[in-house]
Subunit: 323 residues, 4 copies
């Protein structure tokens, strides 16, 4: 049994950091100050209001694909489950996150799920607003409430890089237009998608999103219920089956609680009822997941017995003193 405290987390980070050597930093993102390969940071926020940190937890990186769960929550809020899942499926895919073949092969040509690029473009296109500025403002406002951080904002350098490297996402979006999946203007949908990927966050911010999903969708400042239970379960379950790209199956076995990764090396983790986890480790593997971050999650899951599919008991038993 392990005591969950800052010392434990520092040790866990130190143990996991060597796995950074197995990955590479995503070169399509701008060389932001301090984004080095062997960085690793973590913040854990518990539902009983404790906070623990380890390593380079203050390092900011772009949200990248971790934004997909924010836009999914907002689209569910704006349009409800039926409409959202007309535009996108909820099945794991078994192929790389930017696959276009799978888009063509799937029955109705809707993307497999909201965690892959095509699905996230289709979902973010559902966010209500009278123009893209307004839609992004609503996204940012929601994100600021969830994280209780009014400072979050779009990073122009990242946004420009997203646009400059957007060919594959353009292909996905125009394909969806051609089969009638994407009914809004393609360039506008892409522009919004590029913006929401370009907000900088640190481990605290990522952990706040995890905590929001772990404690019933309540705002951190005033406990207001921002998202109903039904939508929350939907988001957590889809993170479980599809959140770690085409390593989601392995992640379920080895970590065993819902997570969402981004190619910036960020990971949001959700242990329902117990804690939110935010990780930054910029070196990623060929599937797009932080290598050191993955090692850290495996360690946390094992030490603290956070695996939901565990050994004949309800998870979380491994934390001495409890959470």
């Amino acid at each position: 049994m392990h005591k969950l405290n800052n010392d434990y987390l520092e040790d866990a980070v130190e143990d996991s950091m060597p796995f950074a050597a197995q990955g590479e930093v995503n070169t399509s993102l701008p060389d932001l100050d301090g984004t080095k390969k062997d960085l690793l940071g973590v913040t854990i926020l518990t539902t009983d209001q404790q906070k623990f940190t380890g390593g380079n937890w203050e390092q900011t990186v772009p949200m990248q694909s971790t934004s997909k769960i924010i836009s999914l929550m907002l689209a569910l809020h704006d349009f409800g489950k039926d409409r959202v899942f007309q535009a996108v499926g909820m099945e794991p895919m078994g192929d790389f996150f930017n696959s276009i073949s799978q888009l063509e092969s799937y029955d109705t040509s809707k993307p497999f799920n909201p965690m892959i690029n095509a699905g996230a473009i289709a979902v973010s296109a559902l966010i209500k607003g009278h123009n893209n500025n307004n839609r992004f403002e609503r996204y940012l406002h929601f994100l600021q409430r969830v994280t209780d951080n009014q400072e979050l904002h779009l990073n122009e350098q990242v946004y420009e890089a997203e646009k400059a490297n957007g060919a594959r996402n353009r292909a996905l979006a125009y394909f969806m237009e051609s089969v009638g999946t994407l009914i809004t203007d393609v360039e506008e949908a892409l522009d919004l998608y590029f913006r929401i990927n370009s907000v900088m966050m640190n481990c605290d911010d990522f952990a706040k999103v995890g905590l929001f999903l772990a404690r019933g969708g309540r705002a951190p400042d005033n406990d207001e219920k921002l998202i109903p239970a039904n939508h929350l379960r939907t988001v957590n379950a889809i993170m479980m089956t599809s959140g770690m790209y085409n390593s989601s199956g392995r992640h379920a076995v080895e970590v065993g609680f819902p997570c969402k990764s981004g190619v910036s090396g960020s990971i949001i983790g959700v242990v329902p009822g117990l804690m939110g986890i935010g990780i930054v480790g910029p070196a990623i593997d060929e599937k797009g997941n932080s290598t050191a971050g993955g090692a850290l999650l495996r360690k946390l899951s094992q030490d603290l017995e956070l695996n939901l599919f565990g050994d004949g008991h309800i998870y979380g038993r491994g934390i001495s003193g409890g959470v």
Copy 2:
């Protein structure tokens, strides 16, 4: 909040039975006595040794694909995780359970996971034994211990039907031989696979398997630990991401705990630490899952708050009096 008792289960079965009309009984199986389209039965066994039943819980059906979790446990026991996952992946697939294209497209030509036919053939081929009789005996003995039911045995009619309708499985197995995935004799591997699919079980038996996975892999008769914690988590996690064929993503959203279905309309459900669930409802949808059984699982999950990805609390809160 709901009281979990027989009356509640009878009502739940009655509510769910109409969904049988949306499915069809699998005609490739022999017309076994009493396997009618509108049957639905359920047994729930809790970790604190209570038993509840509803509907046609005594109806037996062939194990079919529910056998896949038994053979996975046995192969993990016999060879360990590393060897088993050399032969098969652990990623959900996004295609039908008998897809052969996915077999050819996947990097190393190993099947995506042990819950699809190709994967289960590869896994069952790992079960130790000096011949097929011996391998099947070991399988049956393990199944009898897990279910505490010495009466379980192979049904010859089902076995003959499996062999007669085995063309697709033969295609999968010979393909795996041709790419070096399946190293044992193909016809022997298929014969064993057909046998293990042909054991008849009722809801009690299926629930016993679920309970075994929910309470730490301990034998029901003497609490002996038959399977280590690590393997148990592996099996439960793979059931979560791939257990309901290419409806596993939807199942995670709507039900939210590990299940495995068979085309006989059987379902094994696992709520870790709380209960095992056995369901029989022979009418299946085009993906191979019991339609009425699925409705019943959704109802149980919602009423008893069994969804692992739930609303800011640890699951199981919906049961009055507790389990």
Copy 3:
């Protein structure tokens, strides 16, 4: 044996016209004056300078995919075979002309051949010119020389329709950019592609292109050799294996000489050494080929013994008096 003359052609058109009922006019093209479903026209131009016509041979339609052979000739002229076939393959595909899966699956992500949309976009991007106006001028000038028709020009309505319905082509082009296949500016490449598809031609014009390919690439006015023998064989051979979309195999069996079709219902036919054929029949099948035009080609091939794969003799024996 048949006498090839205008009466014969009128009869052949009349026999073939009923097949128009099996097709539909492509509705993504503007409703140009007189493009009716049951139109059918043909012009045959022989290498010994005879001309025969039948039906609505004066009807103009947009070039659409028949432009693909003009841009292939021009790209071969501008860059040579090695460079062109770095950008595109020369294998028939076995899938629909706008398939994007095949693009992703093919080894090097280059399009299968220059007769499918992706391949034609990649090929036309190779046409030399200091800007798109200049490139299109060169295309048009070459087309005017080949057809000996200075009146040919871009139809603005068709061009606008191409742009408005260009989502799938945009998806293909951006995908190629994302894998490094398309190295020019995507929007510029698409704009040129849309322009070259938008020239209006009648059966005489289409037959002129066929004759050019049948008589050694010599200009009709002064017999100047515009294209070397090697390139000419390349174009004719690729038309044979891939010119009729994913009906090219059937077309080889039933017609047996190189043709290229467009979704406007146009077809260019080449009988090497003997004749060029131009056909307009706007009703197309689900693969994109003129239904009545296909029937007419089958009849011409059989009556005049034009099938290159024929019965123990060299083709063209069926024409009384010879050509």
Copy 4:
């Protein structure tokens, strides 16, 4: 212009032999006496009854896939075009000859064409006979008439090797059974397929088959018409679009007349009205075609102007003195 004689052919073989170094001999075939990597032989038989040979033309090798055109002719004879093309398509495929994905993806699950393994299994299953011995006897008798060689017979060693290495073909056949494409007994169909691949032939024999297809399907001994014109065109056309596996498009460009290759390094060539060509060159490329044989075909096509898609004239002009 070239004189077609034995000296010319010897020189052509010598020029082409170095290309053998780019290939490998198929190791799944038994190490038959003298089948060495750098062998190359050719026989040309003209429609005006001349015979020319070069290199190791007496070397025998198993027919392998060159048998596919014999079984196609026999099936067309026994059942007619409509029935045969219910069982198999006639489109080139764009994938490797033993692809199983394409089998699953194609609309009706029938194989793309009779030149790929799945298609040839389905076609040979149509050969009439009251048992497999009788079917193979009819095949062999037809082959002996076509080649005018009563000595041809099954090689037991090759047949055993075919059976021992038959896993992929078994997979294809059982897949076809599972989707209803193959209606005969699978093991019987495979056994017949293995037998017809196992006849040993030399360049003379292969050239005889080519000549048969080049001169109207007439028996070499008494000019009896064994196959009607319609079927002959069908076979030649399918060889043109699909005969060289997924190099058929390149072959059409570079050689330009119908050929069929086998993984034993054999090639049958057909120049309609002019000649049949038989080639043996055991070193094959990764697509299954003889590397030196391909070089020799390119040289013959260019020197003798045999390309059907040629430069403004009817093919065959390059032979001095004529054929």
